[in-house]
Amino acid sequence: MSASALVGAPATVLSGAAAAQPARSNVHFDKVTVAYRGLTVLKPLTLEVAAGEILALIGPSGSGKTTALRAVAGFVRPASGRIVIGATDVTDLPPYERGLAMVVQNYALFPHMRVEENVAFGLNARGAPKAMIGERVADSLRIVGMAQYAKRYPRELSGGQQQRVAIARALAVRPRVLLLDEPLSALDAQIRRSMVEEIANLHRDLPELTILYVTHDQSEALTLADKIAIMRDGALSAHGPTGDLYRRPPNRFAAEFLGRANLLPVVVEEAGAAGGFVKARAGATSLVAAATGEQAGAKRLLCVRPQNVTLARQGERCNAISSILKEVHWQGELTHLVADVENTPMRVVTTRLPPLPERGGRLDLFFAPDDASLIAEDALV
């Protein structure tokens, strides 16, 4: 049995409304709000997760990302709005009729059950035939590389192994959507990196599986997600394809939350340049950056990632700006520089370090117009 057989097949063991739906499903939030004792913790959220897509919901603590996930799961009742999975409005359905599965930070394995019993739990709960349960349990454990641990108890496994079992348990029921709630937060850094790669491989093997992934770790989101939704103060701050959101963040919060960003105050000099680029001035220096719909004279922030700033000119159209070198931090593979441009710190990350001036000396910095974008200074939610 191939890995892809774990999703997409008719949901023969699903119950209730979920039984009528195929496993491949999208998730649609339609103006969903959640309130606890009158306090709104999720402001009207409208968001689409396409079938087979990994959407990462990221944001700081209290931003509403977990609340949004729990609303999909049915653990919290929206105060208003609807949640639709596939063609089913699940807003009023109890969790056990939604046809979903979830993996959580602390694994939540049942400690008194062996690994194989844990994986079979959902299938038993959904009334699957015994022959199917045996087959599915074996397949799920094989996919996560835990087949040889079937007879063990969770306490006899490491954290990474327990998380693999939790993923196998979720996959065994062929969920319409897999919910991952900070699944790697309890693991140490090395195992976390390896698990991120394993989840990426898993989705390559199961391309029809829709995954809603909540994390506060931007690197997990950047590695795994097709799209990212950034939450802030209970509202959606930014949403888009991962690469686009990283390269062209729509606001300051998105730029700073999704990796490190240099944000240089500029004034738009000349709008509507060819190819979606505009000229902007930082002090006496004229720069070119990607932007659309800008008006001349508008105050903006020029956003450029530290690894896109170089110490040598790369091509004719390259932006050049003079700075004062402030700090140099050698970190083995990478060297981090901090320079001052018009009283704004400008970070540079480089792998190859040419001869540098003394601290306080002049240092020319370069970056391509395509690597820079303009965002509104006070652009919030």
Partner: protein, 285 residues
């Protein structure tokens, strides 16, 4: 040489340290083991002071003893089962379906532990007794000549009173155990398709097995040795081992028979305690 000089005071300190066990051991011996030894001597010696098992064997084979033993076992097991069923149901409600005032109700149930056992029995007399509120209302409402509810003065009355008094002994460890159940296990199980009853059976209760065993064993011990409730209800024909000890010692002044039955009662209690420890160890409690 220097080692010997240093070692001597240390050894003296160690010897002195061992003496600290003496006062509590002496108090324990005086208050517990000595009276127990007196009871054992009374049970197993004849009038001339010689050790004998004859009287003990005669008592153990007597109809009154076997009846009392059977009554004790039946009432204790039934009451313990009632406590477990009621305790589990109440604990599940209080722990997993919180409602306004649930904490207050849990504390209120706890206070039963502090109350003397006869108080509940007295309250039951007012409620379910021949001239109690329930019978009064039924006789008046249905124009009956005799009280229709008369279970109180039977083994059922004793069992009901013991269930009321001892359920908190199950409830408290269960609430503590349920508070440790990982809520995410329940949520994940629910999302995997498990309905509430399956979650209770397969996720919550297995985690509470040590608490049920601990609380149930305590209930069994207490109900086997219960005296006040049985005496106060005064149910006809319901004689348990503690009541038989009382009858033989106080009513009939037959101290030897009373002591023999008391020894059996102690052995039964210690046996139950041993069983509890064994089960708790096997189940990881």
């Amino acid at each position: 040489m220097s080692d010997a000089i240093v070692a001597a005071p240390r050894r003296a300190r160690q010897n002195l340290g061992g003496l600290w066990i003496a006062p509590p051991a002496l108090i324990l011996a005086l208050l517990f083991f000595y009276p127990l030894a007196l009871i054992a001597r009374e049970a197993f010696t004849d009038e001339a002071g010689a050790w004998t098992m004859a009287q003990a064997l005669q008592v153990l084979q007597s109809r009154f003893f076997l009846n009392a033993l059977l009554n004790t076992a039946e009432i204790a097991i039934a009451a313990t089962m009632g406590c477990v069923i009621l305790g589990v149901a109440l604990a599940l409600i209080l722990a997993f379906t919180p409602f306004p005032g649930s904490n207050f109700i849990a504390r209120l149930i706890d206070t039963f532990i502090a109350l003397p056992t006869f108080l509940v029995t007295l309250a039951f007399t007012f409620l379910y007794g021949s001239a109690g509120i329930l019978n009064g209302a039924l006789m008046q409402g249905l124009h009956l000549a005799l009280p229709p509810v008369d279970f109180l003065y039977s083994a059922w009355g004793v069992i009901l009173a013991e269930v009321t008094v001892y359920t908190p002994f199950i409830l408290r460890p269960l609430l503590a155990s349920f508070s440790l159940v990982d809520r995410s296990q329940i949520e994940v199980a629910s999302l995997l398709g498990a309905r509430p009853w399956r979650i209770v059976r397969q996720v919550i209760l297995p985690a509470a097995v040590p608490a049920v065993i601990a609380g149930g064993s305590l209930c069994l011990l207490l109900t086997v040795n219960e005296f006040g409730i049985v005496l106060f209800i005064g149910a006809k024909g319901v004689i348990t081992l503690p009541l038989l000890v009382y009858d033989k010692a106080i009513q009939e002044s037959d101290y030897q028979t009373a002591c023999i039955i008391a020894i059996v009662n102690v052995a039964l209690s210690l046996g139950l305690f041993g069983l509890y420890r064994f089960a708790a160890r096997r189940l990881g409690g």
